[in-house]
Structure formats: C-alpha cells, structure tokens
C-alpha cells in the first residue's frame, strides 16, 4: 500500500505572538520564528505509521514550502516515513489553498499509484481546511474530512468515523481516497534517537516547477484565485481598569465587579 502524508512547515505556534503582518507587503513576517511540523500533520503521520505496522506500507512525506521546510520533511523521515519529497520553487510562493492543493495533487500524481493520502485537518497558520478536500478534487478521489477513528482498514473498502460538532458520521469509502485527520484520531509519535539516525540514510527529493511540468500561471500567487487586498488594524472600544493590591484584595475587588455585572 502506498501512502502519501501531506505535511506543512508552519511558524512555531508557541512563538506565534511574534508574527505580525507586514503592512506593506501584506504577507506574514515570519523572520525569527522557526518553522515546525504542523501539529495536526503529526496525527496524519501517526495514522500512516500505524498502518505500516499492520500492512506492507510505503510512506511518502510530501511538503510544499521554502527550502528550509526540509527540516520538517526530515522529521517525518525520522518518525518513519520511507521517502521525503519537498516541492520548493520560487514559482510556488504565495499560493492560496487552491494553488497549494493543485501543486500537491500534481506531485501525488507524479509519485504514482497512491492508495491513501493523509492530511492534517487544518494548518495552524492559515487555519483553512481546504487543501485536503481540494487535493481529492484535483485527483478525482473521494475524501472524508475530520476523521476521528479508522474503524475498518483491511481491504480496499474502509470505514471511518468523521467528527461532527457533537457526534459523528460513519462513512464507507473505496480506496484510493483522501482523509483529513483530527487530534482525536491518535496521539502523535515522539521522535526517537534511532529514527533520527535512520533518517540520515534516507534521501529527500526536491521537485521544482519543471519537475512537475505545470504552467507557471497555475501555481503560486499567479495560480491563486484569492488574494489579500488590504490589512486593517483593529481598535478596541474598551478601556481597562487594572485591579491592584495583594492577591486577596484583587480577588475581592474582582468578585465585586462580577457581582455588579448582575449575572453572578
């Protein structure tokens, strides 16, 4: 079974407060904030690794990003992926979800016959959830989003549970298929030393626009239907009163304010 796990290098969410929008270029100023593997993509990796323990599985970690996104592809190799592919080219820069999905889908088609594509349900930086379902559309594959449990995975007909706000859908899907996964699905694997050593022996393939054979108008900013048109800074309408004193005094004052609000 061939599995592709789509992964994304995102600015470290722990340091996300340092990320600000450049008012001129309207792009994120990511400088100084290191790139890490998107949290939900770790659940996607784990899903693939769990299958590898049961079946004959080949895992490809696939990412599109700047050259220094290679680090997160290497991390996937250390977690147990067999192969890493990084789509990196100036032409790919500035892509929205649509152009990103198109580029990833083109790469998946180039990889060859694939049985399962796993994606994290969303990325922590963009917070759109479109890439997985749009990849499925470009590849003409069925997709189930927000998978919280793989109920049945022997054979080409899978059963999976997909999260609802309260509850779930039980879906039956014919492989090949795309799945986006939630945190409920599993607990991500931690990196182990032997994995890091093994990853050094595996190679990361880098593909640019010529390797994919796609027109420049179809990828990156040029291939993106949506653009950022402007940036507004928000102004608060509230004026804060900071309560002072010892901890006890502050708690007493706050309680009074809560009671005055009329609902406590």
């Amino acid at each position: 079974m061939n599995i592709v796990v789509c992964v994304k290098a995102v600015p470290d969410p722990q340091q996300a407060c340092n990320i600000r929008i450049d008012p001129v270029t309207k792009t994120l100023m990511r400088c100084q904030v290191p790139l890490v593997l998107n949290a939900l993509d770790k659940n996607a990796m784990r899903a693939a690794l769990d299958l590898k323990e049961q079946f004959d599985v080949h895992i490809t970690a696939l990412s599109m990003g700047p050259p220094d996104a290679e680090g997160i592809v290497r991390e996937c190799l250390a977690l147990g992926a067999d192969q890493g592919i990084l789509l990196s080219d100036r032409a790919f820069a500035g892509a929205d979800a649509y152009a990103t999905a198109y580029t990833l889908a083109t790469a998946i088609a180039k990889i060859g016959p694939v049985d399962v594509v796993f994606c994290g349900m969303a990325s922590s930086d963009g917070s759109t959830e479109w890439v997985g379902p749009e990849i499925a559309t470009f590849l003409d594959l069925p997709v189930v989003t927000m998978v919280e449990e793989i109920v049945e995975c022997r054979g080409p007909q899978w059963k999976v549970k997909a999260s609802l706000a309260h509850g779930y859908r039980l879906m039956q899907v014919q492989l090949p298929a795309v799945f986006t996964v939630t945190r409920k699905l599993n607990t991500p694997r931690a990196l182990v030393f032997s994995g890091i050593i093994n990853a050094r022996k595996k190679s990361i393939v880098r593909w640019g626009i010529d390797d994919l054979g796609v027109p420049a108008e179809a990828v990156g900013l040029k291939g993106s239907p949506t653009i950022v048109s402007k940036l507004t800074t928000t102004q608060s309408k509230r004026e804060v009163e900071i309560l002072t004193g010892t901890r006890e005094e502050k708690a007493t004052q706050l309680l009074k304010k809560l009671v005055d609000s009329g609902v406590v």
């Binding site: 759109t128 559309t137 989003t145 609802l164 706000a165 239907p225 402007k230 507004t232 609902v263």
Partner: protein, 335 residues
C-alpha cells in the same frame, strides 16, 4: 444571470431533521443584504427529504428563490451527491457569491464545490462587505489585525462563516418566493457513502446561550491548571471555552474553542484566563457586556480589549477567586 448584471447570491442551506439550521438563516439574512447591494436576487439551495413544507423560514429570512432537491437519498448530507448537484446548479445559474456555514458539512462541502468550480474560497469569515467595485471583501482576523481577502477574477466568490457571526434576520412572515424543484438522481456514490449519523446531546452548558463564559488559554500551563479554570466555570455556573493552544494541548475538546474557526459567543460576562487576546479568539466574543482578563503579563494585548484586568499568575489567582466566589454564594443562600 442578468445581462450586464450580477448573478444571484446563494446560501447552501443546511437542515437537520427537516429543520433549517440557525447559521443558514443568519447567512440568508446577510445574503439578502449583499443581493440588494448588487441589485440581484438572494437564493437558497436546500437538499433534504420531504422538505417542501419547511422552506418558509428561508423566505422570511430573505430568500427570493429556493432551489429544492427532495428525495429520501438526500435526508442526510451525502458528500458526493450534494457536490455533484450543487456544481451542476452553479454552472447553470452562475451565482456571484456562494455562502456556507462553518459547520462539519459546510467545511467539507465548500472546498469540494470551490475546487470543481475552479474558484477561491475564504475560511471562517467574520464579516462580508462589498467594496467600491462590488467585489466581496471577506474579512478574517490574523496576527493582530484584520485581513480582507478578495477573489477578483474567478466566480463565484465563496466563503464559509460560523454561526453567530451575523445576527438572526428579523423574520418577515409576509415575504414569500419561488420554490424551484431540483431533480437529484436517487443513486448512491459507488465510492463514498454515509452509513450512519450519530448526534450526541452535549451535557455541558452550551457556549452560545450562556450568560457567563469562562475561557482559558495556554497560561493554564498543564492539565491541573486547566482543571482550576474549569472549576472557576463551575463555580460561576458558566460555560467553559478555550483558545486553540488549549485544544492543541488536548486539555479541552475542539467543540469548546471560541473564535474565528470555532464558536461565537455573546455572554453578559466574559472572563478570559491565561490567554493573550489573539484576534482569532477575541473575534469570537461579540457584544459581551462585561469583559474581564486574568493574565500574568501586564503588557498582554488582552488588557486592551477588556473592562477589568487582573495582572497575576492565573494558577495562583484562580483558586483564591473561586474561594471568594463560593464564600459569597454561601452567604447569599443563608441570608
């Protein structure tokens, strides 16, 4: 599509057990306003079974026309069937705008429809307005500000919006419109089927209707710190919400996340504990009467957005506050 004019503004409506969901009616209200601005019609696309007698709320909310697909196969959301039918309808009627709720269905359906129509899609907008060229500005919060996203060339312009972003439109019972039956083949997709849909009844206080909301952030530090914040919510009989880092840490479920891609709340009293006031969270609190923040960093942006602030480590402060609240409540009962 009208000549030299704009195509209709569409809402892909969601129903459960034949009842139109709140978010769809809220979107219908906004769609009607956008349609008025474009001098075009507001239209709903609704699939279900035996829905004929349940479309009236859509007209009352602002729909001029309802495209209705009705057969037993459509009672529940069936991704492949819904997508095929919506794409075909959109190709025929060329809507200018398509809006969907940021629900489990909308979040899956929207990208599937958008990619097939080769157009853009903006996630979890907090406002939609027409710019001077009648292009839809789709606002999303990001990193200390608001971004306007536009889809300048491709049509339709598509967006998902969470429940509560737009108010419920004042229903006009005298409004009526046209129901246009849509023939959706009663077949199943050979590659993807819904076997079962299970709705669970949540046992916690629903965030949307709570008078008091306590929201916790990464400042909780660990599961013990999080439990204290949950205890504070309990003591106040408040609904408990959280920020994305809390979900990432696994302390609270995704369903309790407040903000752009989560729940929208409008309580009388909001208490933010150990959170920094990131826009993605704060846009989820609309029209709260009183807002309070507890954070150990006096420079935290959250203090620019609330009425009362306590600068203290929430892990030390919250237990003291709970004690005071309980003492006060005991006093109230005995008096």
């Amino acid at each position: 599509m009208m000549k030299n004019g704009y195509g209709p503004v569409w809402v892909i409506v969601e129903q459960r057990d034949c009842r139109i969901r709140t978010v769809s009616l809220q979107l219908m209200g906004r769609a009607q306003k956008l349609a008025a601005g474009l001098n075009t019609t507001a239209e709903a696309v609704l699939f279900g079974n035996l829905m004929e007698h349940h479309v009236r709320p859509l007209f009352a909310a602002g729909a001029d026309r309802v495209f209705l697909g009705s057969n037993p196969q459509l009672a529940f959301y069936e991704p492949e069937i819904y997508v095929r039918a919506i794409v075909r309808l959109a190709q025929e009627h060329e809507p200018e705008i398509i809006l969907l709720g940021s629900t489990a269905m909308g979040r899956e359906l929207a990208p599937l429809v958008a990619a097939r129509l080769q157009t853009g899609l903006t996630a979890h907008c907090i406002d939609l307005v027409l710019d001077e060229n009648n292009i839809l500005e789709q606002h999303i919060p990001a990193y200390g500000g608001l971004l306007s996203i536009i889809c300048p060339q491709k049509r339709p312009q598509m967006a998902t919006i969470a429940k509560g972003v737009f108010p419920m439109p004042e229903p006009d019972p005298n409004r009526s419109g046209e129901i246009i039956p849509v023939t959706v083949p009663e077949d199943v997709s050979p590659r993807l089927q819904t076997l079962e849909v299970v709705h669970e009844v949540p046992d916690e206080i629903p965030l949307e209707s709570a008078a008091i909301v306590v929201a916790g952030g990464a400042g909780a530090g660990d599961p013990d710190g999080w439990r204290q914040i949950a205890d504070l919510a309990d003591a106040l009989n408040a609904a408990l919400g959280c920020t994305r880092p809390v979900v990432d840490e696994g302390w609270a479920p995704l369903e309790s996340m407040i903000g752009q891609s989560g729940r929208m709340v409008s309580p009388e009293l909001y208490i933010g504990v150990g959170l920094s006031g990131e826009q993605q969270h704060m846009v989820g609190i609309t029209g709260a009467k009183v807002m309070v923040a507890i954070n150990n960093d006096a420079k935290s942006p959250v203090f620019d957005q609330v009425d009362y602030g306590v600068v203290d480590d929430c892990r030390a402060f919250v237990p003291v506050l709970i004690k005071k609240i309980k003492a006060y409540q005991k006093n109230q009962v005995t008096c």
